[in-house]
Subunit: 162 residues, 2 copies
Amino acid sequence: MSRKLYLEDLHVGRRLHSKRVTISAEDIIRFARDNDPQYFHLDEAAAKDSMFGGLVASGWQTGALSIRLLIDSADPPFAGGIVGVEAHIGWKLPVRPGDSLRVEAELTRIVLPRRHADRGFVSMDIATYNQRDEVVLTQRVTVVVFRDPARAGVAEGSLSAD
Amino acid sequence: MSRKLYLEDLHVGRRLHSKRVTISAEDIIRFARDNDPQYFHLDEAAAKDSMFGGLVASGWQTGALSIRLLIDSADPPFAGGIVGVEAHIGWKLPVRPGDSLRVEAELTRIVLPRRHADRGFVSMDIATYNQRDEVVLTQRVTVVVFRDPARAGVAEGSLSAD
């Protein structure tokens, strides 16, 4: 029994809530070293003189972490994973060492493409909150979600629209 | 002499071109382990059964790598670094092990906020190309760029508009 979340299980208005995760200075620095080696992501002392007044996480790290929280919040997990098609991201507030993040998401649109009968494009509005319930990041993402092969025959007629 | 790139050095229409960088399976897997642990980013064999037919890089990795290429392409470097405010990202094609990426960017807009006399918001259209000159990623980003304190007095009048 490894049930998965398929397109047929989703509907516009469905909401997802994640658990919290705390980001450490070590997490921030490790990500930055490989992916975004700017001094305000790398060096606590030097970052004091930056526009942030201290060490902050790379926006790529907080974006990836938010989607990871979202994926982990889906129970059962999305069949086939989460594959982004496009995203509009707003970085609203800095994320600092010790901040504890969680996400809330709402499904806003499901589009069934004519050319791919096995999948749909699902749009979501995602907000990432810190421990003070301030929004640090917003994302409007469109991801690919697959249809359940076991249910494909039944739903074919009603799901073939654009 | 460590000259830096300030807002006063930029103009709409300015173009930036990066060098190329090749991404390896190890790079892809290392990023995914920490940040996006989905099987098609982690396991070459398992990824064969995914929608991609093989291992592909996380979209967060290609996004971060593209901005890093852009930052490195600026000579002199941006004063104060590159801090994203918002981004619209389109993931157009998978990035696979051995792919060699480069970016081209064009400045499309410079906005001078009334509330912060020391900075501007610079928008750029960025395209990331693979070794076949296919666009794998597009980004329309808005970043913060600082004004040169040494030149602030002179330009104050002409740059204070919104």
